[in-house]
């Protein structure tokens, strides 16, 4: 079988988990054991659990394994990995995968180490299935590595937003199997002991936003973001920034889009004063439409964009905001 670790949030399975299931379905269909199974770890409310089962049905999942029990109430990567390994080794599993999120990457690293097999991170395509040969993003997404995973079992993570989630042609009636994994004390040493409130909600807003307004060095200063924040607000979107902006202390790190920040896939990305270095492109290349606003018509962000306006963002963005407000006040 092909086993996918599914992460959940307050509403159900996360978008990147659904993308991973879609990817896994493609791999499973091309290999000798086509069964697609999913595993979730930790407590779930009945509402979320029901919704996840609906989502799994749409994704064509045959069996949903749910590891629970008091010891799994707080996140511990080693305990999650123990649950995944117990499931994977209880039947003939060819591939174990998760989304390339912080948690997915962490758990899969534990799983691969426990199973003593290689792990491929940030996979975007499975080129062959016997043996498994994958293409994965390296060098911040600017280079693809073809990697062969020898052995009976392969572990991988799927690069976020490299594929989109699509329902299966034939929905399934997934069987729910609840179990309490066998854990050792060592599995629980590195576990969350408390959660502090943070601006994390903003990060979730950024990664899920339909519209993201991006600001780079061209913003010029911390104060230079006022117009961009207003544009994001008018469009009901979120602000994202390039690495130089957080390095200079103009905006907080949780707003950073890129190789060492968030990966976004909005319907529209308005990149203002951002040159489009690889570090940043790695995080925004999955946007469906990119509008670049830049003084340099030869900047990579402009040449890679779908649309561009050439000029100073401090003149252009206020004019856009003004036009938006004017049309809101006087709809056509």
């Amino acid at each position: 079988m092909t086993l996918v670790l599914v992460e959940t949030d307050a509403t159900g399975a996360t978008e990147t988990s659904l993308e991973t299931l879609t990817f896994a379905r493609g791999v499973a269909a091309r290999s000798d054991s086509a069964a697609l199974e999913a595993i979730m770890v930790g407590p779930l409310s009945p509402d979320v659990s029901d919704h996840v089962l609906d989502q799994m049905r749409e994704q064509g999942v045959a069996v949903v394994h749910h590891a629970e029990g008091g010891q799994l109430s707080a996140y511990a990567a080693a305990a999650w990995a123990a649950a995944v390994v117990e499931t994977a080794t209880s039947s003939s599993t060819r591939v174990v995968m998760a989304a390339g999120t912080p948690r997915g990457s962490e758990v899969m690293a534990h799983v691969a180490t426990r199973l003593q097999v290689p792990m491929a991170a940030n996979v975007v395509a499975a080129d062959e299935t016997q043996p498994l040969v994958v293409s994965r993003q390296v060098m911040g997404g600017s280079v693809l590595e073809e990697m062969r995973l020898d052995g009976d079992l392969a572990v991988l993570t799927v690069a976020g937003h490299s594929t989109s989630a699509r329902p299966a042609e034939e929905p399934t009636e997934p069987k729910l199997v609840t179990f309490e994994p066998a854990l050792t004390d060592a599995d629980l040493v590195a576990r969350v002991v408390s959660i502090e409130e943070s601006e994390k909600a903003d990060t979730a807003g950024l990664t899920n936003a339909r519209v993201v307004v991006g600001g780079g060095r061209g913003a010029g200063s911390a104060e230079g973001f006022a117009d961009l924040l207003e544009l994001a607000d008018l469009l009901g979107g979120a602000l994202g920034v390039s690495r130089v902006v957080t390095s200079l202390g103009w905006r907080p790190h949780h707003e950073q889009v890129g190789q060492t920040g968030s990966r976004i896939a909005p319907d529209l990305y308005v990149a203002c004063g951002i040159s489009g270095a690889i570090q940043h492109w790695a995080g925004c290349q999955s946007a469906k439409t990119i509008l670049a606003i830049n003084t340099d018509p030869d900047a990579p962000m402009v040449t890679k964009a779908h649309y561009a306006v050439i000029g100073d963002l401090h003149e252009i963005v206020p004019a856009i905001n003004e036009e938006l407000r004017r049309r809101q006040a006087h709809p056509a």
């Binding site: 962490e106 691969a112 060098m139 040493v189 319907d267 509008l291 779908h306 306006v309």
Partner: protein, 257 residues
């Protein structure tokens, strides 16, 4: 007193144009230069802060060719007090091989009564992006491990680490010895001082040969994703383009007309 080992990797700069070597098995970085990942710069800073707060030592380690001494000296220049080069052909080492080779050095040091209480690595290397050396190293040494950690301090002999989680900042408390993979975001690396640079030049680098027989990374080859020709539509120049931009927003369904 907490002795910290911080592991770094010499990688090509990604800010310039990326070229592949003729055999497409590696990146040709001759013209772009080398650096370490942003995560590792933060890990080095964390190591220095913890060592200085507890009266311990911060040791920097890199696995690779002799050229990696350049990155090792950069870490000494900002405050690491000793340095280890694990000499190996890094291109032939997969993440499991790197972890085994580092574990060997740690075990040797432990036997010589110079144990490392805390090992810090970057969350993922800037070139291969494997996301696993820290975890594999921890299992090889039988120590607990965390990844994606933004800040870490040692309180009452335990590592208190914080990282972004889905519901807020997650707090962990690990008994030492432990391995922690640091992610950029919570620690600001310092710049080297002139005296720091001078000291770095003089600091001896302990060089050991990796005895691990590498299993390899499974790399078949590298390729550059095709760059489609630019299809950008210029909507206009300056503030005069604003109506065209808003028309586009309407067409895209981002705002209602």
């Amino acid at each position: 007193m907490t002795n910290v080992l911080v592991c770094i990797k010499r990688v090509p700069e990604t800010s310039g144009q990326i070229l592949l070597a003729a055999d497409a098995m590696s990146v040709d970085a001759r013209h772009v230069g080398y650096t370490v990942s942003a995560h590792e710069e933060c890990a080095v800073e964390a190591a220095i802060q913890i060592a200085s707060a507890t009266g311990g030592e911060a040791t920097v380690l890199s696995l690779g060719s002799g050229d990696s001494v350049e990155q090792i000296r950069d870490a000494v220049a900002v405050g690491c007090t000793s340095a280890i080069l694990v000499e190996a052909d890094g291109e032939r080492f997969g993440p499991g091989d790197v972890a085994s080779a580092i574990a060997e050095v740690v075990t040797t040091h432990e036997a010589a009564d110079s144990a490392f209480d805390l090992i810090l690595v970057g969350n993922d290397a800037a070139d291969t992006g494997d996301f696993q050396v820290g975890v594999r190293l921890a299992y090889a040494l039988g120590r607990p491990v965390l990844t994606g950690i933004s800040t870490v301090e040692v309180v009452d002999g335990a590592a208190v680490a914080r990282g972004d989680g889905p519901d807020g900042t997650e707090v962990f408390r690990l008994p030492l010895p432990a391995v922690i993979a640091i992610q950029e975001g919570g620690i600001t690396p310092r710049y080297p001082s002139i005296p720091g640079r001078m000291k770095a030049k003089r600091t001896a680098v302990e060089t050991v040969a990796a005895s691990v027989q590498p299993a390899g990374s499974g790399r078949v080859g590298l390729k550059l994703p095709p760059t489609p020709p630019s299809a950008v539509e210029i909507l206009g120049e300056g503030a005069a383009a604003a109506p065209a931009v808003v028309d586009l927003l309407v067409t895209l369904g981002v705002v209602s007309s």
